[in-house]
Every structure is written in C-alpha cells, then in structure tokens.
Assembly symmetry: C2
DNA sequence: TACCGGTACTCAGTGTTACTTTGTACTGGT
DNA sequence: ACCAGTACAAAGTAACACTGAGTACCGGTA
C-alpha cells in the first residue's frame, strides 16, 4: 500500500493497537496477526514490536511473561487504566478529526456550484 | 491541542489543504486562515508554508505570483490535474482508514459480551 | 517623522513515528 | 539435519508537523 497510508497511520496505529488490547490482552505476534486481520495487511512485524515498546514505556499497558510451547516466552500486554484513558483520548481526537475531514468532503460536492465568476 | 492530534495530522493535513485548494485557489496566509476556520485552530503558519513548499515540489499545484497591497507578493496556489488525482487518492485512503477504525470502535461496544471464557 | 500592528513568506533545527533489515532463539515435521 | 513457523529485539532511514526566528512591505497614530 502507498506512502499516503503510511503517513496516515502515524498517530492512529497506536490507537488501533490500544483498541485491540482493550478487546482482549495479547502478545506481540498475536497483535500483528489481529491488526492484519482487520485489513491492515501490510503492517510490518517490527512496527508492532516497536510500538509495543513505546506503549510499555509510556506505562499504558501491564506486561506479563508467559512461556510458549514454540519460540521464546510471550510478552502478554494488558491495557491498564492509563491505557484505557489514553484510548478514550484517542477516540475523542479521532472523532474530531474525522468530523472535520468529512465536512470537507461534503463541501467538495458543492464545488460545481461556485466555480464561475472568478476574478481577482 | 495535544500531541495526539499532531501525530494524527501527519498525512492528513496535506489532504485537508488539497481539499481546500480544490474548492478555491488561495495563497499561504489565506490557507492558514481557512484551515483554522475549519476547526484546526492550532495549526502554525510555518506548518502550512512548509506543506505548500512540499506540494509545489511534488507538482500538485500551479503557482502564480500576485502583487499585494500589503506585504510581499502573494503566491497563489491552484490545484492542477496531478493534485486532483492525489486528492482522490487521499479520499480513498482516508475512507479505507476511517472505515477500519470505526469498525474497531463498534467492536469495542460489544466487548462486554465476549470477555469471558478466556484460556490459553 | 518614527514607530507599531497586520500581512506575507522563508528557513533551520527538533521530535515522533512507521518502515526496513537483520539477528536471536525455540519448536516440530520431513 | 534442515526448514518453516513462532516470538521478540534493535539499529538505521524517511517523512512530516512544530517551533522560533527572520525578512519585507503597508497604513495609521503620536
């Protein structure tokens, strides 16, 4: 997918992951799969792990190490209260942005009515 | 406004400006005012000018210098065909993203129905 | 005349974020 | 013994919005 999507994901990908963790705690590899299942097929693994490190450092999640039958131990992330609050903030910010942008699109539909009589 | 908004604007601010230019050509200072009128009150002037330089370099706009009664000459930006195409791409990408994220929010409302029977 | 506020644009430096690539490590199947 | 799949980590890159400072021109007021 294009560069446009990459840039647009900045600031939203964290919210997406927080929302998924709100549904259900998960470990990195699992989150990657879930994100992809939600239509974001081109998200790199490294991207998710780096993001999880960030949200852990910001203390939005609780972490628990759980042994795995295959591969290294899983780091299971659970959204804590700070994370829940951050997620609410995210929804507010998102709603604001989405509303403004959608209003721009509808205005766009009116463009044909005033494309005449343009002089300095 | 918060850091969240700043990050979320990445990739979308350009689309916002392109949409405004699609409505009507404008110069930098004017665009700044219009962006603010559309609810984005905290967008810095420098941000808009930098963005306009980028879209000009990407050749999404035609530029015309027009003398002003007050201050230096205005650089009037007009969306060209490449810009119109980019704007359409923007709407597609935006729709995709908005749809996925909104679907996450509705799932969130269902969370209470499936927070049980969770084992390895 | 001298100064100030408003218009209008430019540029250099900063922080954040997502991507890419590479590496480590463990398991089970052929 | 090898390979695919699982699971995590880390270093380097590119893009973008922000900050802050600077340049330049106009009209009004003291």
């Amino acid at each position: 997918m294009g560069k446009q999507m990459t840039e647009m994901l900045k600031g939203t990908l964290e919210g997406i992951v927080l929302a998924l963790l709100a549904e259900q705690p998960a470990y990195g590899y699992e989150i990657t799969t879930r994100v992809r299942d939600h239509g974001f097929t081109d998200i790199a693994e490294g991207t998710i792990y780096a993001l999880l490190v960030r949200v852990e450092q910001k203390k939005l999640v609780d972490v628990e190490k759980v042994p795995s039958e295959k591969g290294p131990p899983r780091k299971v992330y659970t959204l804590n209260s700070a994370g829940t609050q951050e997620l609410e903030e995210f929804w507010k910010t998102w709603s604001f942005l989405a509303q403004r942008i959608d209003s721009l699109r509808t205005e766009d539909a009116n463009t044909d009515t005033n494309t005449n009589t343009k002089e300095n």
